[in-house]
């Protein structure tokens, strides 16, 4: 839909999993949910996060596909693998830094979130972002998101890999990118890991 963007804000997530339940109601993949959902650390927090495919500008899944089966549309949407081409090799599943693609074993095809292409092409909002009760998943105009406490970014660092995406992550105002580095979580002598500092 013109003028609308997708925003993910885990800090708003209430863990209800409405997105998961609604995603599997979408007509193109009924019975299969494409949403990723996590309890961050249930023993210690009620924090949860739900997220969709980030639709990378240069999608790693497509770059590693040996069968050229994963296509990005002009609108920036990265689609499920093309059924006639997909060889079910799992390269995309393993390579995606966000862990998005899913191998559907019965039909031997990679499927993933396509931001409800069938809905957005008809002027409907994606299912998950429509139903999300806390609008942790939101498909709205940028000016609506500008009123929020957090700000949108679409630059991610995984180690040295810089990824820019179509979908935005809401982060605190002082940040400009989401930086994830495994090294921060590894214990080294004389240096506490981030995880244990928290």
């Amino acid at each position: 839909m013109f003028g609308y963007e997708f925003y993910v804000d885990p800090s708003r997530c209430i863990g209800c999993r409405s997105c998961l339940q609604a995603c599997e109601e979408c007509e193109t993949h009924r019975g299969h949910s494409m949403i990723q959902f996590d309890f961050l650390d249930r023993p210690n927090t009620i924090g949860t996060a739900a997220y969709v495919c980030w639709h990378c500008d240069e999608p790693t899944c497509a770059q590693v596909c040996p069968a050229d089966a994963i296509k990005k549309g002009e609108d920036g949407i990265v689609h499920s693998s093309l059924k006639p081409r997909c060889i079910a090799c799992n390269n995309c599943v393993l390579a995606c830094p966000f862990g998005i693609p899913k191998m559907m074993e019965p039909q031997q095809q990679m499927m993933k979130c396509d931001m409800c292409y069938d809905r957005t092409s008809e002027g409907k909002r994606p299912m998950c972002a429509t139903v999300c009760p806390s609008q942790a998943l939101a498909y709205v105009r940028p000016e609506q998101v500008a009123a929020r406490r957090e700000k949108p970014v679409n630059v991610f660092y995984f180690g040295n890999q810089r990824i820019t995406t179509k979908v935005y992550m809401m982060v605190s105002l002082e940040r400009d990118a989401v930086v994830l580095d495994v090294a921060d979580y590894i214990w080294e002598e004389g240096r506490e890991a981030v995880a244990s500092r928290q």
Partner: protein, 745 residues
């Protein structure tokens, strides 16, 4: 004697709960056979009553589509709403009346089943008196059905005893709001929530029980609003709380009175509002004098500085809203708890303006509408008091009877069960209520049901209570009859009929009307449709507090719902109360009410040193009669677990996933532990949606609030013991997958 005819495990083999996963025809069917129409209506679960569009093909609901134009939820839905469509075409659905036999139940014709029901009700009344029969209603019924049931009990049966499962919901708040404001409804529309500068949420697990409200709260925070959450557990909304108050179960009143103490101590009250618009302040002022934050901290476990901060934030904000739900109301002092919230609101003058007020977050589907028009034991339609002579005259005229023919007030829901237990009430007709799961002290409830001489049930599934029935009349789901509901906001909404009841099942309205005819009162029940009932309801409510006279189905469609009171056809409705700073009391004043501390009815001691509190999870609804049959919802939270803080768990050698026996003065159950730091170390939590050996209500107690008669679900005393494994649980063997790869029928 209304005992299950055969072991309940055998009944469960036939009647479920079985799990339905897929839409009619299977997941792929819709691409071949698309929906024929979309029906704009409302969700059947919870008091939010979200707008939803049901996809209909033939006479089946096959899916849903968000309804983005409906202003309350704008397309948003929780997982229960998303999956609600799976209950219609369900293998467990009752498709014809059932009569009990020695071998179980057998199908019957409607003639036979209705004749039998009427004959048994009559026989009991002739032998033991009119009041030997009681009627149970439910707050998931449409407002028309609620009205009809109240009239049925009083006119067709002539019994005093009709009450409903809303007695387990927000009646403490209802009682308090009537005492203070003269009206039982949220004082605000939800659109006020984002306008507040401070939200004080106490005893309301909004993330799990009213998920759509989370968006309103986050929008408030987006505008700079601050969120205070008081709860023994960190529930999902507490993740963004600016101030979290970990109140000990049963001590909310001390916290609230101490907040008022601080406000008065620090001179933050609104003297002008108090002087001009209220009465009774002096007594309240005295009553909080001893609630210094230090003393309250010892009682509540909330740091004194946090109590002061909460009081300061609430009082100093120009606009603040207090939100509360069952966590505050399910107490033997539930009414006092709610009054203490209202006293805070009144003392600071936060009422009758945008972004100000207080609200109970009504929990049940039609929890608001279901309590306005006459299935409460002490009320007549229009929220009129049953003992008010003028109210009796008005309603008697609409009903075509004499005022003295309207019975006096009867027992409340739990009191009815106690009267059954002691043999005073011999017959029960119950619709939309599963007391065996939802009333406290479930073993007592089972004993009582076993003693009934007659139990008649109107329902669409064979609930655990219906397993005890002599006759089960196969009724209708919400989407199978037209009607109205009233949301937690006070917005009356139009529930459209999507499909007919399947096979030989019938609309509840028809069943009740037919029974009235068989009881010889047909002339008072000339209704051929819910619309006929609504037209009479409009008249019956006219001039009352909950005045629906100016509401029509067409107006509800045009305006996307109408907030009551709406006394005339050209009246727009009343979203926000008290904008003229007048209450609904005759004097127009807001009435401060004194609150006095008392202990819980089931105090902790050396033998039972741990607090037990109960509540809900997001994927299940009330007693689970509907949601325990929907596969995707069951998978999300399959079994009740005991939430325990690691500090408490360690004392008993309990690790996450271990089996734990929880024992109270009533009974014990054994469940798996969920060891989490998100609950007070002196408290455990168990959700209550399950029957049998997983039933939290086997542990709870029957102490009632003396005024609202709500049970004290939120505080029991218990002890814990690590267990080797689960109890053998034969009663749950039917909960297994069904229809995973196709339609369920």
């Amino acid at each position: 004697m209304a005992k299950p005819p055969v072991p309940v495990e055998d009944l469960a083999e036939t009647y479920g709960p079985h799990l339905n996963y897929a839409p009619p025809g299977g997941w792929q069917d819709e691409s071949v056979h698309p929906a024929e129409k979309l029906v704009k209506t409302h969700c059947c679960f919870c008091g939010q009553q979200c707008g939803i569009q049901l996809k209909v093909r033939g006479n089946q609901v096959i899916g849903f589509e968000p309804w983005e134009e409906f202003p309350f939820n704008r397309g948003m839905l929780c997982p229960k709403g998303v999956k609600r469509y799976l209950q219609g075409n369900h293998t467990d659905r009752l498709l014809e009346p059932l009569l009990r036999t020695d071998q179980g139940f057998r199908p019957a014709t409607w003639e036979e089943a209705l004749d039998f029901t009427a004959r048994r009700l009559r026989a009991i009344q002739e032998r033991y008196g009119r009041d030997a029969v009681a009627v149970y209603g439910g707050a998931s019924l449409s407002t028309e059905k609620s009205y009809l049931l109240g009239k049925f009990a009083r006119v067709a049966l002539g019994t005093r005893h009709i009450d409903y499962n809303g007695r387990l919901c927000m009646v403490s708040a209802g009682t308090a709001y009537k005492l203070a404001f003269g009206v039982d409804r949220s004082t605000i529309p939800w659109s006020d929530i984002p306008k507040a500068q401070v939200l004080f949420v106490i005893g309301a697990n909004i993330g799990d029980c009213a998920p759509i409200t989370a968006d309103y709260i986050w929008r408030c925070r987006d505008s700079g609003g601050r969120l205070i959450v008081a709860d023994p557990r960190m529930t999902p909304i507490s993740r963004n709380a600016d101030l979290y108050l970990p109140v000990r179960p049963g001590t909310d009143l001390a916290l609230l009175m101490s907040m008022l103490h601080v406000i008065l101590r620090d001179g933050l009250e609104d003297r002008r509002f108090i002087a001009e618009r209220t009465v009774g302040f002096e007594v309240v002022e005295v009553s909080v004098r001893n609630y210094d934050p230090r003393i309250a901290a010892e009682m509540t476990g909330v740091p004194p500085e946090a109590i002061e901060k909460a009081a300061h934030w609430f009082a100093r904000a120009e606009r603040a809203i207090a939100m509360h739900a069952r966590g505050l109301e399910h107490h033997s002092k539930g009414v006092e708890n709610c009054l203490a919230v209202i006293n805070l609101v009144l003392a600071t003058g936060k009422i009758g303006r945008e972004g100000c007020g207080c609200t109970m977050i009504t929990g049940q589907g039609n929890g608001q509408g279901g309590r306005e028009h006459g299935q409460k034991c002490d009320q007549l339609p229009g929220m009129r008091h049953l003992e008010d002579p003028e109210a009796r005259r008005h309603v008697a005229r609409v009903w075509g009877i004499q005022p003295d023919q309207i019975p006096q007030a009867g027992y409340t829901a739990e009191e009815i069960m106690e009267a059954i237990h002691r043999g005073e009430i011999k017959g029960l007709l119950s619709i939309c209520f599963n007391p065996l799961v939802s009333l406290p002290d479930a073993n007592f409830t089972r004993e009582a049901l076993d003693r009934l001489e007659f139990l008649g049930i109107i329902d669409f599934f064979l609930s655990e209570t219906a397993q005890h029935a002599d006759v089960v009349l196969a009724g209708s789901l919400q989407e199978e009859e037209e009607g109205v509901g009233c949301t937690a906001e006070g917005r009356v909404v139009h529930i459209r009929k999507a499909v007919d009841p399947p096979a030989h099942a019938r609309g509840d309205t028809d069943i009740i009307v037919d029974l009235a005819h068989r009881l010889g009162k047909g002339q008072h029940f000339p209704f051929r449709s819910p619309r006929d009932v609504f037209e009479e309801l409009r008249e019956a409510s006219r001039g009352g507090i909950a005045d629906y006279y100016g509401i029509t189905y067409e107006k509800l469609d045009q305006q996307m719902g109408v907030f009551w009171p709406c006394p005339t056809l050209d009246h727009p409705g009343t979203p926000r109360f008290f904008e003229d700073l007048r209450s609904f009391h005759a004097d127009g004043k807001f009435h401060f009410q004194e609150t006095l501390w008392r202990d819980s009815g089931d105090p902790v001691d050396a033998d039972f040193p741990v607090y037990l509190t109960t509540g809900r999870v997001v994927s299940q609804y009330l007693s689970g009669t509907q949601t325990r049959r929907i596969g995707a919802l069951v998978d999300q939270y399959p079994e009740p677990r005991v939430e325990i803080h690691p500090r408490l768990a360690e004392q008993h050698g309990i690790r996450d996933g271990d089996w734990v026996t929880v024992t109270t003065r009533r009974d014990q159950i054994t469940l798996q532990a969920m060891v989490v730091r998100t609950i007070r170390p002196d408290t455990v939590f168990i959700p209550y949606h399950w029957p049998g050996r997983r039933s939290a209500n086997r542990l709870t107690h029957r102490t009632l609030d003396p005024r609202s008669k709500i049970p004290e679900f939120k505080v029991s005393a218990c002890r814990l013991q690590k267990a080797a494994g689960p109890e053998a649980a034969p009663d749950d063997r039917a909960a297994r997958r069904n229809g995973a790869s196709g339609g369920a029928r």
